[in-house]
C-alpha cells in the first residue's frame, strides 16, 4: 500500500501553486520534486538495509532488478500486455466519462438517471466484485477493461458533472446577452470554466485506472506486470517484485505529468484565472 502514496502526492500539486511569484514556481517545484524523490528513495534504501523485513529489498537492488528486466526484455513484454486494458480502459473512461458528466451536469433528468450508478460504482468494493465480472465476461481483455473503467470512470463523471453544475451564472448570462447560442455557451463558457475540475477528475480517474489495471492482473489472470509481481513473489525474488511495482508508479506519475501539460496547453488562462477572482 505504501507504494501507492507517491502517485497521489505527485497528482496533488497542480491545483495548489499559482498564487504569487509565478516565475519562481517552475524552478522551485522541480527542485522540490527532486528533493522529495531523494528523501523517499533514501528512506527506502535505509529501510531495505536494516532490513525492516527479509521480503523488503533495498532501493538499489530493486533498481538493478528493474534494469535487468528492461535489458532482457521481460519488462517490455509485460507492459505490452498490461497497457492494453489500461489504455483502452482509460481512453473509454475519459471520453465517455466526460461526455456523460457533461450530460449529467446539464440535465436534471440525466443526473437522476446516471448519478446513482456512478456513486454506487465508486463506493463498490471492486475486488469483491471481480469474480462476478469474470463470470459474466470471462478472463479476457473485456473483464480487465471493465475493471479499469469501474475504477476510473465514476470520479471523472462525478467531477465533470459537479463542475458543469457550478458554472458561474454571471458568465452564462453574459454569453446570452452577447447572443451566444446554446452550443457556444457549452464550448466557450461551460467547458472552459469546468476544465480545472474536469482535469482534476481526470487525474484522479487515471490514477485509479492504473490501480485497476494491476488489480485486474492480480485478481483475474496473472499477465503482464501483474504476472511479474505474482511470479517474483512466489519465487521470493523481491527486488523484481518491487521493481515492477516501482515501474508502474513511475509510469503513472509520468502520465499524470503529461495530462497536466495537456491541460496547460489547452486552457492557458486557467491556472492563473481563478486565483484572484
Amino acid at each position: 500500500m505504501r507504494q501507492v502514496a507517491p502517485v497521489s502526492i505527485a497528482g496533488a500539486p497542480p491545483g495548489a501553486p499559482g498564487t504569487a511569484k509565478r516565475s519562481l514556481i517552475p524552478a522551485r517545484s522541480l527542485v522540490l520534486k527532486l528533493l522529495s524523490a531523494v528523501i523517499l528513495f533514501g528512506a527506502w534504501e535505509i529501510a531495505g538495509r536494516i532490513p525492516v523485513s527479509y521480503a523488503f529489498p533495498t532501493f538499489l537492488e530493486s533498481m538493478a532488478a528493474l534494469f535487468r528486466m528492461a535489458a532482457d526484455g521481460t519488462l517490455w513484454v509485460a507492459y505490452a500486455e498490461t497497457l492494453q486494458p489500461l489504455a483502452v480502459g482509460v481512453a473509454i473512461s475519459a471520453v465517455l466519462g466526460i461526455a456523460i458528466g457533461l450530460w449529467v451536469g446539464l440535465s436534471n433528468f440525466f443526473d437522476w438517471l446516471f448519478s446513482p450508478i456512478f456513486i454506487v460504482m465508486q463506493a463498490a468494493p471492486l475486488a469483491a466484485l471481480i469474480p462476478l465480472l469474470v463470470l459474466a465476461y470471462g478472463i479476457g481483455l473485456t473483464s480487465k477493461v471493465l475493471v479499469v473503467c469501474i475504477m476510473a470512470m465514476p470520479v471523472i463523471v462525478l467531477n465533470t458533472a459537479s463542475a458543469v453544475r457550478n458554472t458561474p451564472e454571471n458568465l452564462k448570462e453574459m454569453a446570452k446577452a452577447y447572443l451566444a447560442s446554446d452550443p457556444a455557451i457549452l464550448t466557450k463558457i461551460v467547458i472552459p470554466a469546468a476544465s480545472p475540475v474536469i482535469f482534476a477528475g481526470l487525474r484522479l480517474g487515471v490514477s485509479a485506472g492504473f490501480i485497476g489495471a494491476i488489480l485486474a492482473e492480480l485478481k483475474i489472470t496473472p499477465t503482464g506486470v501483474g504476472d511479474i509481481i505474482t511470479f517474483s513473489r512466489s519465487i521470493a525474488d523481491y527486488p523484481s517484485m518491487y521493481a515492477a511495482i516501482f515501474s508502474i508508479i513511475l509510469l503513472a506519475v509520468l502520465f499524470l505529468n503529461l495530462l497536466e501539460w495537456i491541460e496547460s496547453v489547452l486552457f492557458k488562462g486557467n491556472q492563473r484565472g481563478y486565483v484572484s477572482d
Binding site: N170, L171, A177, Y178, K268, G269, R272, G273, Y274, D277
Partner: protein, 267 residues
C-alpha cells in the same frame, strides 16, 4: 432616423428626442413576490437615462428585462419599435461584476460579442484593438483579467459592449465595484462617451450624485412593488467642464431633492 414609427406615448414626455427604448406596463413576479408593477418608461434616443432607487427596488430586474435576459410576467419592451423577445444585437450589456472570462485575454474578452456574432478572427481582433485603445487599455491586449485592477476590468467590460456597436448600452451599476477615484474618472469618461457616440444609455445606479452627474434623465424607482416615482431631467450645463458640474447649484439642488424623496425608503 425614423421619427414617426414609435408610439404616440412619446408625446406626453415633453419636447425630448423620440424614444429608443420604451417599456410598457411591465409587471414582474418572482414567485409570489411582485418585483415590478405596471411600469412604463421612455428612454430618449442618444441620451443617458438613469434608473435610481434604493436597493431592492427592481432597477436591475428592469434592466435585465430590457436586455431580454429576464421575461416580464406581463407588459412589453420595445427597442426601436420592435418588441423584445430575448437578447438582441441592438443592445449591449455592461455587468456590475464585469463578467469577464478569466481564462481569456483582454483581447479575446473584448472580441467575445463579435465572436458570437460570427465575425472573422482578423476583423474582430482589429475592432477589439480599436476599442481597447479607446477605453485606455492599449498595451494590455494580452493581459488576463486577474492581472488588472477592478477599474481596468470594467474598462474591458465597457470595451466589449462598445465593440459590438449596439444602439443601446445597458449598464448595471457598472462603477459600484470600483474605488472612488476610478469611479469619478469613469463618470467623466461616460459623459464624453454619451456626447461622442450616438447611443442610448440606460444606467442603473444607487448613487444619487452619480445619477445627477451623468444623466440626461433620471427615473426614480420606489420599492415594493417597484414603480416610477418621478422623472427628473436635470438641465445642468455640462459644457462648462466636468469639474464644474459638481459645483453647479442645480446639481446640488437636485441631489438634495432626490434624497428628500428617497430617505423615507431607506431603512
Amino acid at each position: 432616423m425614423a421619427m414617426s414609427q414609435t408610439e404616440p406615448a412619446v408625446a406626453e414626455t415633453q419636447a425630448i428626442p423620440e424614444s429608443a427604448v420604451s417599456t410598457r406596463n411591465i409587471t414582474k413576479f418572482y414567485g409570489e413576490t411582485e418585483a415590478l408593477r405596471d411600469l412604463s418608461l421612455e428612454f430618449p434616443r442618444g441620451q443617458l437615462t438613469s434608473l435610481l432607487g434604493p436597493s431592492g427596488c427592481g432597477k436591475t430586474t428592469l434592466l435585465k428585462i430590457i436586455a431580454g435576459l429576464l421575461e416580464p410576467t406581463s407588459g412589453e419592451v420595445e427597442v426601436n419599435g420592435k418588441t423584445v423577445t430575448g437578447p438582441g444585437p441592438d443592445r449591449a450589456f455592461v455587468f456590475q461584476d464585469f463578467a469577464l472570462l478569466p481564462w481569456a485575454s483582454v483581447l479575446r474578452n473584448v472580441a467575445f460579442g463579435l465572436e458570437m456574432r460570427g465575425a472573422g478572427k482578423s476583423e474582430r481582433e482589429a475592432k477589439a484593438e480599436h476599442y481597447i485603445k479607446q477605453v485606455g487599455l492599449a498595451g494590455f491586449e494580452n493581459a488576463y483579467p486577474h492581472e488588472l485592477s477592478g477599474g481596468m476590468r470594467q474598462r474591458v467590460g465597457l470595451a466589449r459592449a462598445l465593440a459590438v456597436d449596439s444602439q443601446v448600452l445597458l449598464m448595471d451599476e457598472p462603477f459600484s465595484a470600483v474605488d472612488e477615484q476610478t469611479r469619478r474618472k469613469f463618470q467623466e469618461d461616460l459623459l464624453a462617451l454619451v456626447l461622442n457616440e450616438n447611443k442610448t444609455f440606460i444606467f442603473v445606479t444607487h448613487s444619487i450624485e452619480e445619477a445627477v452627474y451623468v444623466s440626461d434623465q433620471i427615473a426614480i424607482l420606489l420599492p415594493r412593488p417597484s414603480r416610477v416615482h418621478e422623472i427628473i431631467r436635470p438641465s445642468i450645463n455640462r459644457e462648462s467642464g466636468a469639474a464644474n458640474i459638481r459645483r453647479d447649484p442645480e446639481y446640488l439642488d437636485i441631489v438634495d431633492e432626490i434624497w428628500a424623496s428617497l430617505r423615507s425608503y431607506v431603512e
